[in-house]
């Protein structure tokens, strides 16, 4: 008998087949138990389990979110350890080594902070960080993060859909793309002295991508405000694209008619496309994108796990690219 044969019903993740109420119910139960509702004797055990889901540092200001109702926003995969997610970062403004940002980003001042929203919008505005924090209710979103370098993490972000902001500034008919500009201040960012990229860091999305509910403007992770090395005080998170598309420490959001020239396209257009959707079938010229190593999960000698089309978010975002040749628009 063939038990393992794929009959076209193989789902990438349990979260996409288990009814939401079932797996959400478990955490709710744990939370109730932790609160003591299920008896004092069990509370300690439950509190430990509930806490283990998202282990925060307790060093930064707490930032609470409610459970996101957006489809696909909460993977049930185990979150990456806080220590790994905050010590292994690509943030070239603080140096090109992945240990640099955690070591040198202390010089970044995430407050006061403003974000200029401008370009093809009816209501351009310079937002203060405090105003942005209150624009929409904070949501918990647990996303897979796939780096173009072939490793991945699972990060519990806190933030709200970028669409909330976009609706408020009312894009005009000319707005086809959204450009994100990161801070470029030599006094705060030692990495700017190197000419690795053409500063400031610029990223971009098509307007419909930016409007997708999964596209997140994140202010926190692991129940706290963003650590500097992760892009404080606010950053983009686009979970179906390679990590570099998710611009950090954003100071400007521009609505434009033409496809923005992003920092990585300027640096090496043949290696980093504007779309940069996670795609196991399109190799980076220097390495295969078919597999990935999950940080902190996969053992040293374990085979790498297969990378999923659109990082597993195909059911939610696939229709954005209907009819597009994703080998050409990589």
């Amino acid at each position: 008998m063939q038990y393992l044969k794929d009959r076209g019903f193989v789902h990438p993740h349990a979260s996409e087949i288990t009814p939401r109420s079932v797996y959400e119910g478990r955490r709710a139960l744990l939370r109730q138990m932790a609160a003591g509702a299920a008896g004092v004797a069990l509370a300690g055990w439950a509190a430990r389990d509930a806490l283990a889901q998202v282990q925060r540092s307790a060093k930064l200001m707490a930032l609470a979110g409610s459970r996101s109702a957006v489809a696909g926003a909460l993977t049930i995969e185990k979150p990456t350890a806080y220590a790994d997610a905050t010590s292994y970062n690509n943030f070239y403004e603080f140096g090109t080594s992945k240990s640099d940002p955690a070591a040198t980003a202390g010089s970044l001042k995430p407050r006061p902070w403003t974000v200029a929203v401008e370009g093809e919008v009816r209501k351009p505005k310079v937002f203060d960080l405090d105003e942005l924090l209150g624009i929409a209710p904070m949501e918990d979103r647990s996303y897979r993060l796939r780096c173009v370098e072939g490793w991945s993490m699972v990060i519990p972000w806190v933030g709200w859909s970028l669409a909330e902001l976009i609706r408020r500034v009312e894009p005009t008919g000319n707005a086809k793309y959204v450009e994100f500009v990161s801070l470029a201040d030599r006094a705060q960012m030692p990495g700017l002295r190197s000419g690795v990229l053409d500063w400031p860091y610029v990223e971009g999305l098509r307007l419909d991508e930016a409007m997708h509910p999964l596209t997140l403007l994140a202010f926190g992770l692991y129940g706290e405000v963003l650590p500097n090395q992760n892009g404080a005080p606010l950053r983009l998170v686009v979970p179906w694209k390679y990590g570099f598309k998710s611009a950090k420490s954003i100071v400007k959001i521009r609505f434009v008619e033409r496809e923005p020239r992003t920092a990585w396209v300027k640096a090496a257009a043949q290696e980093y496309g504007f779309y940069s959707n996670v795609n196991p079938n399109v190799d980076h010229p220097r390495w295969s994108q078919a597999t990935e190593r999950r940080i902190g999960e996969d053992g040293l000698f374990q085979k790498k796990r297969p990378t999923l089309m659109f990082n597993g978010y195909g059911p939610q975002v696939g229709q954005l690219y209907a009819g597009m040749d994703l080998k050409k628009y990589f």
């Binding site: 790994d84 190197s194 220097r286």
Partner: protein, 213 residues
């Protein structure tokens, strides 16, 4: 004149231990989970870094020996060269095992597909005959002149190694470290070229390196 400390009987064992230290540290750190969030990447990159460092040291022996007038330095060249090969092998094994899961078919597809991997692999292949003919009997069997000609392949290896590193870092547009290694290798090779030119002008034959051992 006092005997050079380079001729001390402990000099070679000391150098041997020193060259082994990075490897010992890497194995220890891997076992003790000291390699950060991505130990596989750290192992592959560090073994590559140490290959380059030892390659530079190997190529530095002859210029240092001549410039500092320390003929005894030549005693260490073979060991440094063999350690270069040792770390290059570790580097390849780390890639083959940790990145490719020791799947020969996958490796055979991966290497020719990526120019940077291909030149790195070529450099390793070129090292094989040099490592295999590194003992005294091989020198005698080949004859000093032929042995020397063969071992000039190290210059090609150095160029390929820099190209490998350059192409790898080109993916991230990050050339700061590459520039340092390239400058060192370029200086060491330029010194040899200039010396050869000067000796030729003076009507002398090319320096017999094997004979000077």
């Amino acid at each position: 004149m006092a005997r050079s400390p380079l001729l001390h009987p402990a000099a070679k064992p000391l150098l041997f231990a020193a060259c082994l230290l990075p490897c010992v540290w890497l194995f220890y750190a891997a076992a003790a989970d000291q390699l950060g969030a991505n130990p596989a990447e750290a192992l592959i990159r560090s073994s590559g870094d140490w290959t380059l460092r030892l390659l530079c040291l190997t190529l530095a022996v002859t210029p240092l020996r001549v410039l500092a007038n320390q003929p005894a330095l030549a005693r260490f060249r073979r060991m440094l060269g063999l350690f270069t090969f040792f770390y290059a092998t570790l580097h390849f094994l780390a890639y083959a095992w940790l990145d490719m899961g020791f799947d020969a078919a996958v490796i055979a597809r991966d290497i020719p597909k990526r120019p940077f991997a291909l030149v790195g692999f070529l450099a390793l292949l070129l090292m094989l005959p040099l490592a295999a003919t590194s003992f005294n009997r091989a020198i005698r069997a080949l004859g000093a002149a032929r042995w020397q000609a063969l071992h000039r392949a190290v210059y090609a290896i150095a160029v390929l190694a820099i190209l490998h590193f350059f192409w790898m870092r080109a993916g991230k547009h990050d050339f700061a470290e590459v520039a340092v290694y390239a400058a060192i290798v370029a200086a060491l090779l330029a010194w040899r070229a200039l010396r050869l030119k000067r000796l030729r002008q003076a009507g002398q034959p090319a320096p017999a390196r094997a004979a000077a051992r």
